[in-house]
């Protein structure tokens, strides 16, 4: 078994605008099972952060427990990271974000970590609209504890041992829209062409941005009869659109046939361009988004792509009207301005 990746890279690979190589965004060698979907999502995150020219030390990764929650070790090795308790990543993220609003926050979780033990924290994170990109690596099972059905397993889906799941599934994307999340998308670990622009857009979104990424557990949930296997997902995928993320002040390089292209302007001035594949769907209109999801569910299809976006959403700092300087940079003199300031305030109250 190889524990270290060779240090050589393809000599022709470009540097990004910061002068970093893609290698500078990698982490240590994965210890997940060979072929695990989670590793592909890690690769997509590396590519997205490299292309977005993110300074690695300006980003913090947070996760809970699970194979999915282990992945932050395998990407962005030069960024901050906190591997928290099962289902408790949202509260750690909230604390971190309140203390230092200057970092970018990337939450990585699993369907077990989010939809079972962490459900309480998850819904409040959305309610508070924390500025974080929250990725669920969704394999319909508890991979780390050997593949028990999770709350996102579809009703009727068959486990590797042959038992059929009798329960309704929780659709995390539908829930997120319902709770008022400002950015909701679904994707597939095996579709980087779609996943990478979605990750970039989510990172650019100012508030809670959620991506439910179907990510097959190759060891415990890739069997015939499972609805989260590579084969099943490939055969039942149905996308809202094809996407291209256009960062701020960049020329558009992708060629679009006239008329078919739409765009959403992101808060920071970048664009998410898309070529619609669904009729009667408009990602900025909640009803049409919810309708498109229901329609796909009824047809037994998995709707992927950006589903809903609201670029006017206000994040927690805006809601609470906090100081624009991060809390961890405020010194004692800022926080205890002294007797004169107190007297001034008292005076203003008379």
């Amino acid at each position: 078994m190889t524990y270290q990746r060779p240090s050589f890279r393809h000599p022709e690979l470009p540097l990004n605008e910061l002068g970093y190589r893609k290698k500078d965004y990698e982490g240590s060698l994965s210890t997940l099972c060979a072929g695990c979907g989670h590793d592909s999502i890690s690769a997509a995150l590396i590519q997205a952060c490299f292309e977005l020219n993110i300074e690695p030390h300006k980003l913090a990764k947070l996760s809970g427990i699970g194979c999915s929650s282990k992945t932050p070790t395998y990407f962005l090795g030069n960024s901050h990271g906190f591997n928290s308790v099962h289902g408790r990543m949202p509260s750690v993220a909230t604390g971190a974000n309140l203390a230092n609003r200057d970092l970018m926050y990337l939450g990585v979780s699993g369907d077990g970590d989010t939809a079972s033990i962490g459900m309480g924290q998850f819904v409040h994170l959305i309610r508070r609209n924390l500025n974080i990109t929250y990725i669920v690596m969704n394999n319909g099972c508890y991979g780390l504890t050997k593949g028990q059905d999770s709350a996102t397993a579809d009703k009727g889906s068959k486990s590797k041992a042959g038992s059929v799941n009798p329960f309704q599934n929780i659709d995390l994307a539908g829930l997120a829209i319902e709770l008022g999340a400002g950015f909701v998308a679904r994707s597939f670990s095996g579709d980087k062409l779609q996943l990478i622009p979605l990750i970039k857009a989510a990172l650019a979104h100012p508030g809670f941005a959620f991506i439910d990424v179907i990510s097959p557990c190759v060891t415990f949930n890739n069997n015939v009869g499972s609805t989260k296997s590579y084969d099943y997902v490939r055969h039942h995928i149905d996308a809202t659109a094809t996407f291209d993320f256009v960062p701020l002040a960049k020329e558009i390089t992708t060629h679009y046939s006239a008329g078919s292209t739409q765009e959403v302007k992101m808060h920071d001035g970048s664009y998410l361009k898309f070529n619609k594949l669904q009729k009667d769907w408009d990602p900025t209109k909640k009803e049409t988004a919810v309708h498109a999801m229901h329609k796909a569910n009824e047809a037994g299809e998995i709707l992927t792509g950006l589903i809903y976006i609201n670029e006017d959403s206000k994040d927690l700092h805006q809601i609470l009207n906090t100081n624009s300087r991060p809390l961890n940079q405020l010194t004692e003199t800022d926080l205890c301005p002294g007797i004169h300031k107190l007297e001034e305030i008292n005076k203003s109250l008379c």
């Binding site: 190889t2 240090s7 050589f8 890279r9 072929g35 592909s40 095996g190 190759v218 490939r234």
Partner: protein
């Protein structure tokens, strides 16, 4: 693109860059692994089978393998392939017991070999075990050809050469030394079943028309003749000031030999710019290390002779100019001519073939350059029983080329003597074996080290310049040899893809450190090369393309900078990738393999 046919033996052969570039196709990574495993005898025998003179070549080979080495495409320097070969030779145990030993049962056929250089000796080695009676003729006192007469002892000790020459002569070869063959007709009249001509390119070029050339004959020497006279101990000294004219390996050997025979101010003077000189970079370095300046862009104009005594030479200074077609020529800089003092001048400006002993009425055709018409595959001349090889066939090359020619000529002679078609040659012997030992265990050492190339230590200059026979290079010690061997990327351990197993999970794409693997829509090669995860600009390296996968895409692997690290196969959940060791051996005469 069409799916790659990996059943074609040449496909994976080409991936093993060093072996592919070696004229004799020595299985390089195989012997490097054996050196790392301290199996020097086995490493030696792999070499001996392919290139016949591992000890000689480990010191002197022109090493076409090294510029081809994959490692040179991912970092600054290739693996020290050549000097590792020497390690096998230096540390081998008894190898003779692994070689075919005479007497061999006779097959009733007789073959004459004219010349005793590496080409002829290779023919002898390949044919003797098959029962041929071999008669080898050479005008020198012992075998080896230019390896003995030209290559100086400080690069190639006499014992090393003799040992390997004797391995062959001991196979019951009838050697006729000190015998100059003055007539091919006489040889043909002796009714040999076949004749092989391996007489080399023995004539050194001169500057016969340069003013002063014939006025001080005794101090103006033809480089290769002078080197032979030194080797056979007819010449023991040279003047203090020496000019060596020329920029190839003969020039480098002449100047370094001069330094050992009393030359103090030895200068190499060459027409072409330094970077374009024929000598290898390491030869130039070694010369400069011995305080020999190389003056480039100097064209010889006159020999300056006073009172019948050589005083030096004048040169015109030139620079390289390219015309609009990119053709480069040397044009005078207009500066005054340069005079350089000299007691002796050595001319090392090239060699030519010459066949004064071949009668032109025998039916043996010569082309306009006075080279025999020789078939490049069979090495047969226009007289069916006469074959050529080595420098005598297509002009001066090097030892390893002579050996490669010898092998092929031996195959032809064997076919010819059996009355078979010379063009029906056997395919190479190939073998492809999985290296899988466990889920993530390989039978080869797949770890990639970052070590930079190790330098071969040299003996002190103060000692080597005093003794012409003292070998300069000391060779790697075994510890350094191990570290250098670990730099080899095991390019013969092939990445073999089975599309029916692939579930398109992307794991191999994600893990590959050098972005070799892509899953993309199929296109024509030129377009495909641009649409991969990393551009595949090196067209000398193939794309390995699968048949269509369930998503209609194809797997495309650019062989260019694959590290053969095995990570793709380790991360593949279905073993669609496997690491398989590919052994490619050129089929020798009688298709006998000395290694079992």
């Amino acid at each position: 693109m069409q799916p790659t046919n990996i059943k074609n033996p040449e496909y994976f052969h080409k991936v093993v860059d060093c072996q592919y570039a070696c004229p004799a196709h020595t299985p390089v990574p195989e012997y490097i692994r054996l050196i790392a495993a301290e199996k020097y005898t086995e490493a030696y025998m792999i070499n001996w089978e392919s290139n016949v003179f591992p000890g000689v070549l480990g010191r002197t080979c022109d090493r076409p393998c090294e510029p081809a080495c994959r490692r040179g495409r991912i970092e600054a320097e290739p693996v020290a392939i050549c000097r590792l070969k020497r390690v096998a030779a230096d540390h081998k145990a008894d190898v003779k017991k692994h070689m075919p030993s005479a007497p061999f049962p006779s097959n009733g056929k007789k073959v004459a070999l004219i010349g005793g250089g590496p080409a002829s000796l290779t023919v002898a080695r390949d044919l003797a075990p098959l029962g041929y009676e071999i008669h080898l003729f050479d005008e020198q006192v012992s075998g080896g050809g230019m390896m003995r007469s030209q290559i100086p002892s400080f690069r190639l000790p006499e014992e090393v050469l003799s040992e390997e020459v004797n391995f062959i002569l001991d196979m019951g070869i009838h050697s006729h030394f000190k015998t100059y063959v003055k007539s091919l007709r006489e040889i043909l009249d002796k009714k040999y079943d076949a004749v092989f001509v391996g007489t080399g390119a023995p004539r050194g070029k001169d500057l016969p028309d340069l003013p002063g050339r014939w006025d001080a004959k005794s101090n103006i020497h033809i480089g290769i003749e002078w080197l032979a006279s030194v080797a056979f101990e007819h010449i023991h000294s040279i003047g203090k000031k020496v000019i060596v004219v020329g920029g190839g390996n003969t020039a480098m050997d002449c100047c370094r030999t001069s330094r050992r025979l009393g030359g103090v101010e030895v200068k190499v003077v060459v027409r072409s710019p330094f970077a374009e000189m024929k000598a290898s970079p390491w030869e130039k370095e070694d010369a400069m290390h011995e305080d020999i300046p190389i003056l480039d862009c100097h064209v010889p104009k006159t020999f300056v002779v006073e009172d019948g005594k050589l005083k030096g030479m004048t040169f015109e200074k030139v620079h390289a100019v390219k015309d609009e077609n990119g053709k480069r020529s040397l044009v005078s800089t207009g500066e005054p001519d340069v005079f350089i003092e000299a007691d002796d001048v050595l001319l090392a400006i090239g060699q030519e073939n010459t066949f004064p002993w071949i009668e032109r009425d025998l039916g043996l055709e010569f082309n306009k350059w006075e080279l025999p018409s020789v078939d490049p595959v069979t090495f047969q001349s226009t007289i069916p029983s006469v074959f050529f090889g080595g420098d005598s066939a297509f002009g001066p090359k090097n030892i390893i080329t002579a050996v490669a020619h010898g092998h092929q000529a031996a195959v032809s002679i064997d076919l010819y003597c059996q009355g078979k078609n010379l063009n029906e040659r056997l395919h190479p012997m190939v073998n492809l074996v999985s290296q899988k030992m466990g889920i993530h265990e390989w039978a080869y050492d797949s770890k990639i080290v970052d070590d930079l190339r190790y330098v071969v230590p040299q003996a002190e200059k103060a000692i080597t310049l005093k003794d012409r026979k003292k070998e300069v290079e000391l060779g790697f010690d075994v510890q350094t040899a191990f570290k250098e061997a670990q730099r080899c990327l095991n390019c013969d351990v092939q990445t073999v893809f089975t599309e029916s197993r692939c579930i398109e999970c992307d794991a191999c794409v994600d893990i590959c450190p050098t972005s070799c693997i892509s899953f993309v829509p199929n296109e024509e090669e030129d377009a495909l090369r641009l649409h991969l995860n990393a551009p595949a600009k090196n067209k000398n390296q193939d794309l390995y393309v699968s048949d269509a996968l369930p998503t209609t895409r194809v797997m495309v692997k650019d062989e260019d900078v694959c590290l053969h690290c095995g990570l793709c196969a380790e991360r593949c959940p279905t073993s669609a990738w496997d690491m398989q060791k590919y052994l490619y051996q050129v089929t020798k005469a009688g298709s006998c393999s000395h290694i079992r």
